[in-house]
């Protein structure tokens, strides 16, 4: 498999850490470094197995985590220059970065809500072509990887035999997935792997999915954190208003573009 999915438009290592903290319901202010390092490396290994174009930042963060972990194993050194490392929690700097980043991640979410509201206000002379969106994911890459791990685990049990997949390639699998989505949309993430038992085949399917997402031929959406991930044909989910609008009731009504106009007409008359 010499197929590389480019990840530049996806998330970075800080996202992965925040994802892990949420997934395992850890206290961000008291991160169990050994555990999170282990989890982090597990994801990293998975990404590398997928031959994802893992950016250097991910490796750098892995090194940072391992460094912090080793420092925490050392007994507190009274003799250490008190000036250099005040208090001396080796995690302090990482925590600062995480919190600083999370602040803007949250702010970005708010901006997204405001953007969606503004997108409903139209004005004269506005370009008919809307924004070009370069990112496809309504779920994070790590949510996808997490779901993917689940699929892989099941496969490992039921088909321990590894078969060399000479006929498998991502390009063909993309076509298969497009056909699937043309017949039915949305499909639950795990449904894409139905009947797929071989590990290599599962990996190829996943890579094909990532490529479809990147090219916006499909989109992924998750209604609630850790909930099932739905895969949509194209970007059609954009028709709906994503959950979590500032005005929930508005969102629900507008969420059914077919139903709402009729209701509105009777309201207006």
């Amino acid at each position: 498999m010499t197929y590389q999915v480019r990840l530049e438009m996806f998330e970075g290592p800080l996202d992965l850490l925040l994802h892990l903290i949420r997934e395992h319901q850890l206290n961000i202010l008291d991160i169990p470094i050994a555990r999170i390092t282990e989890e982090y490396l597990r994801y990293l290994a998975l990404m590398q197995e997928l031959d994802l174009d893992v950016a250097g930042e991910f490796l750098l963060m892995a090194a940072t985590l391992i460094h912090i972990k080793s420092k925490m194993l050392l007994p507190p050194d009274e003799a250490a220059e008190g000036e250099g490392e005040e208090e001396g929690d080796p995690r302090a700097e990482l925590l600062d970065r995480l919190l600083e980043y999370k602040k803007f991640k949250d702010a970005a979410q708010t901006l997204g809500v405001l953007e969606a509201e503004q997108a409903q206000l139209h004005r004269r002379g506005a370009p008919a072509t809307e924004l070009e969106v370069e990112g496809p994911l309504a779920v994070s890459l790590f949510e996808l990887l997490r779901a993917f791990r689940g699929v892989l685990r099941r496969a490992d049990v039921s088909a321990p035999l590894e078969i060399t997949p000479e006929e498998l390639n991502v390009g063909q699998r993309i076509v298969v997935l497009l056909d699937l989505l043309a017949a039915e949309s949305p499909i639950e993430f795990t449904g894409l792997f139905a009947g797929t038992l071989r590990r290599a085949e599962i990996i190829v399917t996943f890579l094909a999915l990532l490529e479809l997402l990147r090219r916006r031929l499909a989109s992924a959406r998750q209604a609630e954190p850790m909930g099932p991930i739905m895969i949509y044909r194209g970007v059609e989910y954009l028709d709906e208003q994503p959950a979590g609008r500032l005005e929930g009731e508005e969102a629900r009504r507008l969420g059914s573009p077919r139903g709402y106009p009729e209701a509105g007409t009777s309201e207006a008359s």
Binding site: G12, L14, Y101, A108, Q118, H122, P136, L238, D239, G264
Partner: protein, 215 residues
């Protein structure tokens, strides 16, 4: 048969033809009002009239001016008419934009330090979209480019000015004393650069991160 054109009608006509949000001062000038308060009152009356009559348009105050926009309730029909999907910025783009909005003026390296990933591609998209702009260069080694948000940014998100940005959630209280004085190079950077780089809008509130105001 037709009622006489009143001041509200005139403002409505002006807003209709304007391609950008019309600043109050410009409207005042055109209406030849002595007092901006008179212009403002007319705008408000127009807004009320539109609302009372259940019209499809409303007056929106955005990006330092006023414009006519369709009411949100009209959106599903407009979508039917235009068959255009309201696309959204990607999450990485929104995050990058948020950092720029709250920390401007800011260099690419400073953004990358916060996001922990390269942002070159995302920044290019944002520049092409006109949501961010180059403000100048930072007075440090290499003279890196400083970025800030544009008027289009304000319009895109419906802000009157940068003071309208929602306040960043205050996290300092969450952090114990160890992290409270976290290194925050950004306020310093903004202060350094500000003489060379005027804030992008007329509202002089400065760095919005410093002023967590009610939203």
């Amino acid at each position: 048969m037709s009622a006489e054109l009143d001041r509200r009608g005139i403002v409505e006509a002006l807003l209709f033809v304007a391609e950008e949000p019309l600043p109050l001062a410009r409207l005042q000038e055109v209406l030849a009002d002595e007092d901006p308060a008179a212009t403002e009152a007319t705008i408000r009356e127009l807004a009320e009239r539109l609302e009372e009559e259940g019209r499809g348009l409303m007056v929106q105050e955005v990006a330092g001016g006023f414009r006519l926009a369709t009411r949100p309730e009209a959106h599903p029909w407009i979508q039917r008419l235009q068959q255009v999907k309201p696309a959204k910025l990607s999450r990485p783009a929104l995050e990058t934009l948020a950092i720029i909005a709250y920390k401007q003026p800011i260099t690419r390296a400073e953004i990358e330090a916060i996001r922990g990933v390269a942002v070159e591609g995302v920044m290019r998209t944002l520049l092409e979209r006109g949501l961010i702009r180059m403000l100048g260069r930072k007075a440090e080694a290499g003279r890196p480019i400083l970025y800030g948000t544009s008027t289009d940014f304000l319009e895109h998100f419906g802000f009157k000015d940068l003071g309208d940005l929602p306040s960043l959630k205050e996290i300092d209280e969450l952090i114990g004393p160890s992290g409270a004085e976290s290194p925050s190079p950004n306020s310093g950077a903004a202060a350094e650069a500000s003489p060379a780089v005027p804030p992008p809008t007329g509202n002089g509130t400065g760095d919005p991160t410093d002023a967590p105001e009610a939203t």
